[in-house]
Assembly symmetry: C2
Homo-oligomer: 338 residues x 2
Amino acid sequence: MTEEFEQLIERAGRVGPEYQELVRTIAVLGEEGGKRLRPHISMLLYEAYSKKSGEDILTAAVAQEFLHLAMLIHDDLMDRDLVRYGVKNVAGQYRDIYEPLIEGTARRSHEADSMAILAGDLLQSRTYRLANQIETTPERKERIEALMSDTVERVIGGQVLDTQAILRSSGTIDPLVVAENKTASYTFEMPLLIGAILGGADEHELTQLEVLGKIVGIGYQVMDDLLGIFGEEASTGKSIVGDIREGKQTILVQRFRELAKKAQQEEFDTIYGNHHATVEQIARVRALLIESGARKALEKELSKIANKASRIVEGLAIDSKYKAAFIQLVSRGLDRKK
Amino acid sequence: MTEEFEQLIERAGRVGPEYQELVRTIAVLGEEGGKRLRPHISMLLYEAYSKKSGEDILTAAVAQEFLHLAMLIHDDLMDRDLVRYGVKNVAGQYRDIYEPLIEGTARRSHEADSMAILAGDLLQSRTYRLANQIETTPERKERIEALMSDTVERVIGGQVLDTQAILRSSGTIDPLVVAENKTASYTFEMPLLIGAILGGADEHELTQLEVLGKIVGIGYQVMDDLLGIFGEEASTGKSIVGDIREGKQTILVQRFRELAKKAQQEEFDTIYGNHHATVEQIARVRALLIESGARKALEKELSKIANKASRIVEGLAIDSKYKAAFIQLVSRGLDRKK
């Protein structure tokens, strides 16, 4: 990824130093960041099917990281977040750059946010350019390019629904549909398929992987929902009051609504989504989610998903050492620290 | 384009009605809009080289319109504009949609702007998906996809410079470089090359067209700068005080700085960029641009560009009827109503 950023900085320099400055704010974030989950999945799958080194598909791996970074930069804008991976994101860095140049915080923020819009757009264009440079047959490349843009179309759909779930009356939007489109499609289905297509997997295998990506993605989201309420902030780095105060329509809440008694629902509704909920009220929401059986139900679903995922992996036409690595990867996603 | 939007609305429906709503706000804008300059150029060039109907490359034409729309939606966000093509843009339409849903104009505006970010991202992903569907040889398709993302990289560079020219001390950013990257690359070079590549033009022709696109694009920007100061608002639809009050660093201003005497420069600097400049002061800026010889110099450059463009077109390996249509197209761009 470093090499890609160096080239980009070099080319930006031909336009002007101000353009290089933008690319550098992106590179700060890109170098810092993330679990590299998508590249890891793609490379593992590629090795499993082709029996060649995952390094061969570095271009496809970096393309996915660029896309991910583009999404995060625009997501942060929508969420008004200025920090990502423990460093200032593009909008955050430009607030500093503009400090001596622009008077008034409102105008400064607006101009900094504008640069973050451009940063996300630049990374999107580079994503498809990298996809275009993947060394493979024209048919496989065409398929991967199509997969990437179709996945983005789904991710945006999931994002739109997720936003609207908060803005509109609860219950009209299915959090499972959000998880399928926003998480499963992009974090699991796409990387699995990219690795497998480039590795030469046949259609039957690809269908299996698509199903696998979908269920693991949903499981990942279920785990996220549980961690958002019952996790330990110290290990997840995620606030466990945020979801409750925001009134996030999670799969956990959906299960609660199906299982809880009327009185439990009514009590829940007085607290969930209240931005000023007290510590006691938050503890009460947690208790209700346990008492209703919602937590247990989801934990059961998670273990079913893990079993089904293992069965699919076992049935794949890859060597057993890759199956083991794959199952480990899946279970890490589904059994993160609570 | 209608068909593309219908398919997109249909697919969005599979995710949820809230996603369809977003696509519909985009379609309102897309159906309304614009001169369709890029598709027109590409189709003309394709016909000239292939002697087949321009309809054959409709996919490539629509891809360019999608890209253009994506750029405009994000541009409007940066410029805080809510109207485009005489109708409300995505951010504008969502302000209405959210009126009964979100209290407080600041939060409502932020959420509406978030939807416009997503709309631009969606259109970008569809642009590359359409490029992926162009029916041609793998080599030509690969080349066009690369051209499109490389052009976006340049456009964003031009946009960054243009923004920074206003924020930073004047004179450090060359408006010619902005015009080359922001206007010429995207409005002329890209559509010319797409049509010609798909039509089967050889490398020599493509090089000529690249040069042509560059000079015509710069000419187009020069014309825009002149119209921004000396145009008639009624026919251009563009305010002729905006550039002066904003202190826009145009090619016209660059020429003025090269030609004007010290006293003229000093007078100019007291007015240009003053948001409260009076009608008399604005008239004075116009007079200075004429007295210094800057206006005449640019008009001369424009006619040189028009001559050079005609010579290049004359030398192309296409039938004379296409040359005539092409020269007409070029001169319409370079000689718009003042």
